[in-house]
Every structure is written in structure tokens, then in C-alpha cells.
């Protein structure tokens, strides 16, 4: 005989202002099997929770309905209180009287009536709740870090230093990411390579880190604590153990005219290459798409010159499975290129470049050895224009957000230019200067006041070429919207930061959500900025939104702590709200007819085939069986099952049908 307790919360006045709680309490107490009903001002407070605990003991309750806010808010709180009262926590249900009733309706009888309907429905449901035991799952104490930029490097080092194994997967031949392309960094103007490369080496040498460069995550299965990642190690056409990194093959490769990605297309590289001299690992790969041997079937110069015979033309991609307990996604970002901007010449004008290209021009190891020379003719630009917010904050371009880093790097670019070309003039067109951050605004002021960079507040309508010069037409909104025309030698666009190509596919492979701009979505914008909606997968760096280096590093350390916390236990407990196939004694065994229609619909491959055999080993029946470690409790198989043989704990057929009947009928 069920004995249900109903606890009605006023939530201060949040509920009681529009719902007549007294009336709800009275109606609840009259419901069949309700042994106790009460109301209280703050049910989630300590005294409120004690009220629940004591009532369970005092009234020998077999089920609890807390009629308060959304279960998404306080279900764990009241399940805990229920457990402390000596009842199985899954015998507690919440009736959502706040978000779904008091807050969305005016005060009145209909609102109170609706509240009563909701309470009645949950009372009927809780009567049919089962006492469930949490599922315990082991934790694999190894983390997968996807992406080897500064965020991935930081996360990997932090996790590894906690004593856990880390597997790092990097898509390109070297780790380092965009940070390795930068010349100097704001607000200190220290050299990017100088602070980054020691960390890259640390990753390579760390005993707890396994680095897979030139590799990609193809698939991720499993769940928190128990992921299995399929990693494709793309063929480098190289025996890495034999290779000493002498670089002879690189100098002898006859194919030398491939645009260099690391130099943002402003230099060339051979078909066998390392992206940059300080690359980690410092071993070359063969770019099959551009290698003469792979295209025409002959050449093999690299093989001939290699002193250690390390070239392997017949090497194939290798796909490996790794087991990990947590994943840190640190795949970074990309920028819009100049060809995205018709008004600035669609990328046709050679001297209109983007921010990353300018970084390479300013970099001592770049294509010009750090001299600022314009790409078209190698001349030193006397007049240079920087256009901030190229694409960013421009809904017409589909990018409504602020890319956050451009104000700072534009100030840095203008400064670097002035430091290298003393007689030159630097102009910056900007919308607003957003330089919030430690020592950031001081940095911008320095650019304006000490380096005399000409800041013009206004947008640029068009850039076109005339007689080898670039005409930049803009407006100065601080001078009464006066048109401004600057004859420039070079234009640098601070283009919008965007999601990496392939981010959407990766998100779908990892089962994490992403926003309309294809940036990965955090679980909560304020309180869970590092977590994703998928337990055990965390975010670090600019794959979430454009971020500068300090922010990326902070978030990476945050993600690392989340991983370390997860690995601090040897076992995880999971909610037992999973599906199960019914089982009976012989001769029926189960109503499952073994059609296995449920198998293809399961998103988690949690449905297995089980064979019931007689003593002499003859198969009597094939049944579906659900692996409760893999099942996430979506219930798709339940709705699909033709013989109604699968049910979902917490949302059983009996429960949901009862809810419908109870909701629509007064008892």
C-alpha cells in the first residue's frame, strides 16, 4: 500500500504569488494514497529538507513528490534528502510548479487548478517508481587531448603533471598551433616562439604524454570514464624511428613550389617538409597530394639521399583504438581570409593581407626575416592601413560577434610596424577599442601616444588599387562623419576569428553541441564554461570562441583540473535511468522476439545479442540485451519496440501512460 508525501514549496513568493498553495495542499491531501501533504516557504532550505526527511520517517512514506521548481534545478537536492530520510532516492519526483506554472501564468483559479493537475500526475507517477540502485562504472585514467595548440599543450602538461596518462592528437605534422606562427605577443611584446617552443618540447619528452602528430580522431564511442577513440594516424611515408631529422631530404626535394601553410601562403615549401624549423616532432612528412612520386610514379629523390633509409613510400594510414576516461577538445580556430571581403578586393589585391600573414611578415623566422615588406613587389610600405573588425560585429557578413583578439593584435601590429619602419605612417580604422585585460589598455595607449599610430574611428567602405597604390576610403566618425581617403602601400585586415573547418563534423563525431557559428558549446555560459553537454568531454581554448593566449591557457588549466578531479576516483556512479529488456522464467524467458530492430536505432551501440541455450548448448531463443554501461537512457528503443519488451527505468510505459490518464482526469 503506497504512502505518498507531497511537499509544496512557496519559493518565497515565487509560487505562492500566483498559485494558491493552501488549496493545492488541501487537494493533494485528498488524493488516494497520499499519506501526508504540507506546504513550506522554502523547501530547498535546510529546514525544508529536514521536513522531507522527518516526514518520511514519521509517516512511513513510500514515495515523495516535491512540488517546487524545475527538476532540472533541484532534483538532486531532494533525491539526496529522500535518501537521508531512509528512502531510495529514485522514489522522489518533482512537480514543476514554478517554471511551468506560477511564473508563466497570472494569478487565478486556472493556475491553481493546473498546479493541482501537475501534483496529481506526479503522485500517480511516483507510486509506480521503482527503487533503483546507481550504476557503478570504472574510470580509465587516461585523457585524450585533441589539438596541439597552446590550449592543448597546457591541458596535456597539467594533466600529465597530475600523474595521469595523456594522448595528444594533432592534425598537422607539428604541434604549436597558431601561436607558433605569431611574431611577438601582446601586451609584453615577447617573442611567441621563445615562450612556446620549450613547452612543445616538454610535451614531447613528458613520460606521461603520447603524441600522435599528423593524426585525427575519427570516432569517439563510449561515455564518461570509458571512451574509446579511433585515431587515424595519417601515413607520413617515414619510419620515424629511423629518421634522425637531418633534413637532407627537405633540401633535395625537387618539388619546391608548394604554398607554405605555415607562412600563410607567403612562402614555399617542398613536398617533404617540416612546417617550421622548431617543429615538434622535428620529423618530416611527405605531402602526398603534391609529391611527384605519388603523382607521377617516379622521383624518389628523398629516398635516395636519406642516409638512414627512413623513407617509406608504401606506408599506409594506421587506425588505432585508444581507451580514455576523459577528452579535452582544444582544436582552436581559424580566421576569415581576405577573399571573404569583396569590398577589400576579394583577395585579388596582393597587398591586402590578413592578420596572420602580417604576423609572418613581422616574424624574425618569417619569409622576409622579420622585415615588413609588401608581398606584391617586396617594397617597404611607407603608408600602412590596419582595418579592425573586418567581418566581426557585422551581421550583414553573418558574424555578429566580437572576435575579441583583434583590437589588441592590431595595436601590436601597428606598434611592430612603427618599430621596424620608423619613417612610416600607420593608420588604424576601428569601431571601438576593446582592450579589457591586464595591461591591455595601457598597451593600446602606448601605440597611440608613444608610437604615434593614427587611430581613426570609422569603417572602411572600400579598398581599390590605382597606379600600384591602394586607395582606402573610409569615414572618420569623430570628425563629423568626414570621408577619409588614404593612399596606402599595404592594408592589413584584422579578419574575424571563426570556427575551424571541420569543427561541425568533429562535434558530431564527439557528440558535443556547437553554436550557430560552429564553435563548440559550453554546458553553461557562466557556471560551466569548461564542460560540454556530454559528460567527460571538456573544452579548452579558441574552439569555443575566439580567445587570446592568457584566456586559452587559463581555460586549458581549468579543463585539466576537471579531468584530474574525474580521475581522482576509481569508480563513477551513474544514474540508473537506463533501458532494459524484460526477462521471465522458462518457457517464455522474455517477450522479446529477437527482431533486433532496436539495434540500429540505438545511438550508443548499447544493444547486444544474447542467446539463451539449453543445457546441451542448443539455442532456444535470441534476445536483445542492453549494456547498462553504454545505455544513456534516451528510450528510443522503448518507443520503437514492436512487442513492448523494452522499458526505461524512470520513464516506464506504466508510468507515462499513468501520467497521461492522471493529468486528464480528476480522481
Amino acid at each position: 500500500m503506497a504512502r505518498i508525501g507531497v511537499f509544496i514549496c512557496h519559493c518565497g513568493e515565487n509560487i505562492s504569488a500566483t498559485v494558491d498553495c493552501g488549496k493545492v495542499c488541501e487537494a493533494a491531501s485528498k488524493l488516494k494514497h497520499v499519506a501526508y501533504a504540507t506546504e513550506y516557504k522554502y523547501m530547498c532550505s535546510d529546514p525544508g529538507q529536514s521536513l522531507v526527511k522527518n516526514a518520511i520517517i514519521e509517516h512511513k512514506l513510500t514515495g515523495v513528490v516535491v512540488s517546487a521548481c524545475s527538476p532540472r534545478m533541484h532534483e538532486p537536492t531532494f533525491r539526496k534528502a529522500t535518501a537521508e530520510g531512509g528512502l531510495n532516492p529514485f522514489l522522489c519526483e518533482m512537480a514543476n510548479l514554478r517554471e511551468h506554472c506560477s511564473w508563466v501564468h497570472e494569478k487565478g483559479e486556472a493556475t491553481t487548478e493546473k498546479a493541482i493537475d501537475i501534483v496529481r500526475t506526479l503522485v500517480e507517477k511516483v507510486k509506480r517508481n521503482a527503487a533503483l540502485q546507481p550504476i557503478r562504472v570504472p574510470v580509465t585514467k587516461a585523457a585524450l587531448v585533441i589539438g596541439g595548440g597552446i590550449a592543448g599543450i597546457q591541458a596535456a602538461l597539467d594533466i600529465a603533471n597530475c600523474g595521469h596518462k595523456v594522448i595528444m592528437v594533432e592534425r598537422s605534422p607539428s604541434i604549436g598551433g597558431h601561436m607558433s606562427q605569431l611574431s611577438e605577443t601582446f601586451p609584453t611584446l615577447d617573442c611567441s616562439q621563445c615562450i612556446l617552443t620549450p613547452r612543445m618540447v616538454e610535451v614531447l619528452q613528458h613520460p606521461n604524454i603520447t603524441l600522435y602528430s599528423y593524426a585525427e580522431v575519427e570516432q569517439l564511442d563510449g561515455f564518461i570514464g570509458n571512451f574509446v577513440a579511433k585515431i587515424r594516424k595519417k601515413a607520413k611515408s617515414l619510419d620515424e624511428k629511423a629518421c634522425t631529422g637531418c633534413g637532407l631530404c627537405i633540401t633535395k626535394c625537387p618539388q619546391k613550389k608548394i604554398p607554405n601553410e605555415f607562412e600563410e601562403g607567403m612562402g614555399f615549401r617542398p613536398a617533404i617538409y617540416v612546417p617550421f624549423p622548431q617543429a615538434v616532432p622535428n620529423r618530416p612528412v611527405i605531402d602526398k597530394a603534391n609529391c611527384t612520386y605519388y603523382i607521377k610514379g617516379k622521383c624518389k629523390v628523398c629516398e635516395i639521399v636519406c642516409p638512414t633509409k627512413a623513407i617509406r613510400f608504401d606506408q599506409e594510414d594506421e587506425v588505432i583504438d585508444v581507451e580514455v576516461g576523459a577528452v579535452v577538445v582544444a582544436t582552436g580556430f581559424d580566421i576569415k581570409r581576405a577573399d571573404f571581403f569583396p569590398e577589400y578586393g576579394y583577395g585579388k589585391l596582393k597587398d591586402v593581407i590578413d592578420g596572420l600573414q602580417f604576423e609572418r611578415l613581422a616574424s624574425a623566422s618569417g619569409p622576409t626575416n622579420g622585415e615588413i615588406l609588401r608581398p606584391s613587389d617586396g617594397q617597404k610600405p611607407k603608408n600602412i592601413v590596419f582595418i579592425a573588425c573586418a567581418g566581426s560585429r557585422d551581421p550583414a557578413k553573418g558574424i555578429a560577434y566580437c572576435s575579441k583578439i583583434c583590437c589588441m593584435y592590431t595595436a601590436k601590429h601597428a606598434m611592430l610596424y612603427k618599430h621596424k619602419v620608423h619613417e612610416g605612417n600607420a593608420h588604424v580604422f576601428y569601431m571601438d577599442i576593446r582592450s579589457a585585460g591586464k595591461n591591455y589598455d595601457e598597451f593600446v595607449r602606448r601605440a597611440i601616444e608613444e608610437d604615434h599610430v593614427n587611430y581613426i574611428r570609422g569603417r572602411v567602405s572600400t579598398v581599390y588599387e590605382r597606379d600600384g597604390k591602394l586607395i582606402v576610403k573610409g569615414v572618420d566618425t569623430l570628425l563629423g562623419a568626414q570621408p577619409v581617403e588614404i593612399v596606402a602601400d599595404m592594408v592589413v585586415l584584422a579578419t574575424a576569428g571563426v570556427a575551424n573547418p571541420g569543427a561541425e563534423e568533429l562535434a558530431q563525431r564527439l557528440h558535443v553541441s556547437y553554436d550557430s557559428h560552429k564553435f563548440f558549446a559550453e554546458a553553461h555560459p557562466k557556471l560551466k564554461p569548461v564542460e560540454t553537454n556530454t559528460a567527460g568531454i571538456f573544452l579548452a581554448g579558441a574552439c569555443q570562441n575566439p580567445k587570446d593566449i592568457p584566456d586559452s591557457v587559463s581555460q586549458a588549466s581549468g579543463a585539466a583540473v576537471k579531468v584530474a578531479a574525474l580521475f581522482s576516483q576509481s569508480e563513477l556512479t551513474r544514474e540508473p535511468l537506463v533501458a532494459a529488456v524484460n526477462r521471465f522464467g522458462p518457457p517464455l524467458y522474455s517477450t522479446c522476439v529477437g527482431c533486433f530492430m532496436c539495434q540500429p536505432v540505438c545511438p550508443y551501440q548499447a544493444i547486444e545479442r544474447e542467446e539463451i541455450k539449453s543445457r546441451d548448448g542448443k539455442v532456444i531463443k535470441s534476445l536483445a540485451k542492453i549494456n547498462e554501461g553504454l545505455c544513456q537512457g534516451c528510450g528510443t528503443c522503448v518507443a520503437l519496440c514492436r512487442s513492448k519488451s523494452i522499458d526505461l527505468y524512470g520513464y516506464t510505459n506504466e508510468q507515462v501512460y499513468t501520467e497521461v490518464v492522471a493529468l486528464l482526469n480528476d480522481y
Binding site: S70, E99, S102, W103, V104, C634, T636, A639, Y651
Partner: protein
């Protein structure tokens, strides 16, 4: 019929529409009291026989709502729901069930205002259609017949 208050049952998924309806509350957007929500983990869990059960028990309208395509918490539950729905809808239409009484929508956790709009438009439409007595009558007569035949 002016004082007719339709009963509408909403079957929603926990991760998108239930959270979206929570947001409607947090944003204090008002909507009609006629809709009552039943929570499911995923639209993929929703057994469409529940719709018939609802109509038989006096529901005048129904809302089914879950995550937008590609946003499903369980990756593909909403796709399976939609596929089954396409078949089931045809069947119900064939059986003579008034499909104007059913709203199938996608409301994300960020679309609090949209949830209010879905509720209000559905309630307004069902209000215009009037009580769904014909279905209840049909179900009840059928049961009575069965009882007398026995």
C-alpha cells in the same frame, strides 16, 4: 462554446523543450494555462500510442516537442521520433483523427519565447476547433459495444 477551455497535453524532451519551457518561466513570459507538460528523456522515447490515450482521456490537443535536428542530446533520438512520426501521422490521418489538433515542433533550451508561442498558437487553434468529443464518443461506444457483445 465561448467558455470552452481546451485541455492540451505536451510531450516534451528533457534536454531541449523542457529546458526551453523552464526558460519561459525564468523569463516570466506568460502563456495559456491549458497546456500541461509531461517530461520524457527524449522525443525518441515518445510512444505515439500515448497520443491516442490522451485523446481518449479527454485531451483536445497535443504538442510534441524536442530538440532541433542535429541538437539531440542523444545524437539521433529526435530523428527517429520524426521518422516514426511521419508514418504514424499518415496512419492517424487515415483513421480520421483531426490532425489540426496536434503540433509537432522543435523548441531548443534557448527558445523560451518560442515555447510560449507554440503553446499559445496551439491553444488558440484547438479552442477554435472546439472540444474533441467525437473521438471520445467513438472510443467509448466501441468499448460499450465490446462489453455488450460479451
Amino acid at each position: 462554446m465561448s467558455d470552452f477551455e481546451p485541455k492540451v497535453v505536451a510531450f516534451v524532451c528533457n534536454w531541449c523543450t523542457y529546458a526551453g519551457a523552464d526558460l519561459t518561466g525564468t523569463s516570466r513570459i506568460k502563456y495559456a494555462t491549458n497546456v500541461k507538460i509531461i517530461r520524457f528523456p527524449c522525443t525518441g522515447r515518445i510512444d505515439f500510442m500515448l497520443l491516442l490515450k490522451s485523446f481518449a482521456n479527454g485531451a483536445d490537443g497535443i504538442i510534441i516537442s524536442g530538440c532541433h535536428p542535429n541538437d539531440c542530446h542523444y545524437t539521433s533520438g529526435n530523428f527517429h521520433a520524426k521518422r516514426r512520426w511521419i508514418m504514424f501521422k499518415e496512419l492517424m490521418d487515415f483513421m480520421g483523427i483531426d490532425m489540426k489538433r496536434i503540433t509537432y515542433s522543435w523548441v531548443s533550451a534557448a527558445e523560451g519565447a518560442r515555447w510560449a508561442e507554440v503553446v499559445n498558437t496551439t491553444v488558440a487553434r484547438v479552442r477554435e476547433l472546439g472540444p474533441y468529443v467525437s473521438y471520445q464518443k467513438m472510443v467509448n461506444t466501441h468499448i460499450e459495444e465490446e462489453v455488450t457483445n460479451e
